[in-house]
């Protein structure tokens, strides 16, 4: 009997409805045990509750513009009455150009706007692997020159704009990007120096890296604003922005040097030995064999470090330089707009977030791609 039943063709039993398809997914990932179900429900409740609260504040009850009063000044009383219930986006509406471009001459705002677009374009081009060649350095040099010309003007019929009047997002991008562009070569030299067999050079590099990494960026910025002027001979002066830029380059150089050193260490010893066996000199070996490989390895951590600087440039607020955050804070000094800090912070936060999130997603993707390639 058993033989007959065994030999009969039996239709395969279907998996229980609750373990496949979206229901199965929900059960496995949200309601796998009673504790899990409880957590899911509680969490979902809070998410929905706060999401509704936020939508109410940011959109439903928000005020997007305010009328002018008799004297032609904006009348913000409707916003004040609405405080706590809804956002007052009117402050952004009114001040967005000031927040983005600071005290740059109003009719010339197209120049910093183009500069911002150029910066974004530069980032996108640098992110594409097919441009990872020596020519990239030339592209950077060219774009940064165009940016400098646009900001200062004085040629091609663009009026000259002194540095004291620059402000807003371009300053943030300038500090971060120029910081990286100049810190990178410095970092490579220091990283090589730290791995050098020559004791004096090694000691100098270690001293520099550890000293800078041991103190907060703020102290370097203070140094730039109150001590640099003492370092220079009489009559020689460099302006505030440049001093802050130098401090950021020195700071970035130390951190990048450690990233690059990581790449140098990750390279297998065989590469060094093979290069030496070919009879290459130190600089040939480094420039042709070691660096091209090591730098490729460190691109993901390099992007992460860059995100860090990008955020850290906001510290120039403390020494009174007009970056994005400072411009945002200055925008709400005017008495009628005082008290709408949260709206301004949310907006500025969004700008920072867009930049940093894009970069961090990119670096995560790149990392997995590079790892994938190596694992094969």
């Amino acid at each position: 009997m058993s033989i007959t039943t065994d030999s009969l063709p039996v239709a395969p039993r279907l998996a229980p409805a609750l373990s496949v398809g979206w229901l199965g997914w929900v059960r496995a990932n949200l309601f796998s045990s009673w504790l899990n179900s409880l957590v899911t429900i509680a969490l979902a409740y809070f998410i929905v509750k706060y999401a509704i609260g936020f939508v109410d504040w940011a959109f439903v009850n928000a005020i997007w513009s305010v009328p002018n009063d008799a004297a032609g000044r904006p009348d913000t009383s409707s916003c004040r009455d609405n405080k706590g219930l809804g956002a007052c986006w009117a402050v952004i509406n009114e001040k967005h150009r000031f927040m983005l471009f600071g005290t740059y001459p109003y009719e010339q705002h197209w120049r910093p706007a183009v500069v911002c677009v150029l910066f974004v374009g530069l980032y996108i081009v640098s992110a594409m692997r097919r441009f990872w060649r020596m020519e990239l350095a030339l592209i950077w040099a060219a774009v940064l020159t165009v940016i400098a010309v646009l900001m200062w003007g004085g040629v091609l019929g663009m009026p000259y704009v002194p540095q004291e009047r620059w402000g807003g997002l371009p300053i943030t991008l300038i500090l971060a990007t120029f910081g990286l562009a100049f810190a990178f070569p410095l970092a490579i030299l220091v990283a090589l120096g730290r791995r050098s067999k020559l004791p004096a050079i090694k000691a100098l590099c270690v001293l520099y890296v550890e000293l800078i990494r041991g103190v907060p960026l703020i102290s370097l910025l203070f140094m730039a604003s109150v001590m640099f002027p003492l370092f220079l001979p009489e009559g020689m002066n460099i302006d505030k922005l440049l001093r802050a830029q130098i401090a950021i380059i020195l700071f970035a150089g130390a951190y990048l040097a450690e990233v690059v050193r990581g790449g140098l260490q990750a390279l297998s010893k065989g590469q060094y030995e093979a290069a030496e066996a070919l009879g290459l000199s130190y600089w040939q070996k480094t420039g042709l064999i070691i660096l091209p490989q090591a730098l490729r390895l460190v691109i993901p951590p390099l992007v992460n470090t860059f995100i860090g600087f990008f955020k850290d440039t906001s510290l120039v607020l403390i020494i009174g330089i007009f970056d994005l955050l400072t411009a945002g804070k200055t925008a709400i000094i005017e008495p009628m707009w005082q008290g709408f800090a949260v709206e301004v912070y949310v907006t500025i936060g969004l700008i920072y977030f867009v930049f940093c999130f894009a970069m961090s997603q990119y670096s995560a993707k790149l990392e997995s791609e590079l790892n994938h390639g190596r694992r094969r």
């Binding site: 005290t103 001459p105 109003y106 002194p162 004291e164 009047r165 604003s225 109150v226 002027p229 003492l230 220079l232 009489e234 009559g235 002066n237 302006d239 505030k240 403390i318 020494i319 009174g320 804070k329 200055t330 709400i332 000094i333 008495p335 009628m336 005082q338 008290g339 800090a341």
Partner: protein
């Protein structure tokens, strides 16, 4: 120094980062105010005109002295109090007191406080790195009042903290309080207490070691005072320069005496300044009266209670 400025074609003038009535950029981004007028006056005395002759460098309380020491600015016209230690240990010179101020307190009217002594136990917002902070500590000790300080770096954050109710009172120079108060939507909601707890002689600073430039800055101030004393105004200055027969007026306006040359500038230096900016009284009225500030000690010595006095022009 005067030659350096002349060769450069511009006077570098350090001003504050924004204080209503004293130095603030207007909506077109043009600087205006009492302190700013002193920058303009010195530029006019040197160049004869102020058109594109002044470059304003906004300085925070923290970097103002460094900026002047290092030559980033030629002069500092920025509500800075003249004290012994600043005069002697910073390598800077105070030229003259162009504004007599004093430190006071502002509280919300709803608090019902009428005198500073009632602030026992109160939380007070104060900006660090200024004499204000030290005065507050000195005062609290001398009248045995217990206060809690909240020390915030940026001026606007201080005011924001006071308005948000983080502090019961906000303390700074009375002129600064008046400026903040007048900027509020309902100024009457805030009271400036009658107590003034310190002397704050404010003036223009220059680097130590260049007496000629210091002399010029000092005498531009005296010239403005003398002009008010003799009734020389922006309107009548040009006329008086040719018609007035009082010897001192003639010397101020450069018709006789050659006083300008003694300082290395054109003899018509004060005439140019007054023609453009008016005398001390006019500068004061234009910039400070809208804040509701009285002349008080800043009136001429000829008025009772006035302290502003110019030495003779001869």
């Amino acid at each position: 120094m005067i030659d350096t400025i002349r060769a450069r074609g511009q006077l570098l003038c350090g001003v504050s980062t924004g204080l209503a009535g004293f130095a603030q950029p207007n909506s077109q981004g043009v600087w205006a105010g009492f302190d700013v007028d002193y920058c303009r006056a010195v530029a006019i005395a040197i160049f004869g005109t102020e058109q594109n002759r002044v470059r304003y460098v906004p300085t925070t309380a923290q970097v103002r002295f460094t900026a002047l020491q290092s030559g980033e600015v030629d002069m500092l016209s920025r509500n800075t109090t003249w004290t012994l230690s600043r005069d002697t240990s910073l390598g800077l010179d105070f030229t003259a007191t162009n504004f007599y101020d004093g430190q006071g307190f502002m509280v919300k009217r709803s608090l019902g406080v009428t005198a500073a002594r009632q602030l026992d136990g109160a939380t007070i917002c104060v900006q660090p790195g200024t004499t204000t902070e030290q005065n507050l500590a000195d005062w609290a000790r001398s009248v045995r009042v217990n206060i809690r300080p909240v020390v915030i770096e940026r001026l606007e954050d201080n005011i924001a903290a006071y308005l948000a109710g983080r502090c019961d009172a906000y303390t700074t120079d009375v002129s600064g309080l008046a400026a903040s108060r007048s900027a509020q939507q309902v100024p009457a909601d805030h009271v400036i207490l009658p107590d003034v707890i310190s002397k704050e002689p404010l003036g223009v600073l220059v680097r130590h070691g260049d007496q000629r430039f210091a002399d010029l800055v000092r005498w531009v101030h005296f010239g403005l005072l003398a002009a008010e004393e003799f009734g020389i105004t922006a309107e009548n200055a040009a006329g008086l320069a040719t018609t007035d027969n009082r010897p001192e007026v003639q010397r101020i306006l450069g018709r006789t005496g050659g006083l300008g040359q003694m300082m290395g500038v054109d003899n018509a230096w004060m005439l140019n300044v007054i023609r453009t900016l008016g005398n001390y009284g006019e500068i004061s009225t234009r910039n400070l009266a809208p804040l509701g500030l009285q002349r008080g000690p800043n009136a001429l010595w000829t008025t009772p209670g006035g302290l502003q006095y110019a030495p003779p022009f001869r």
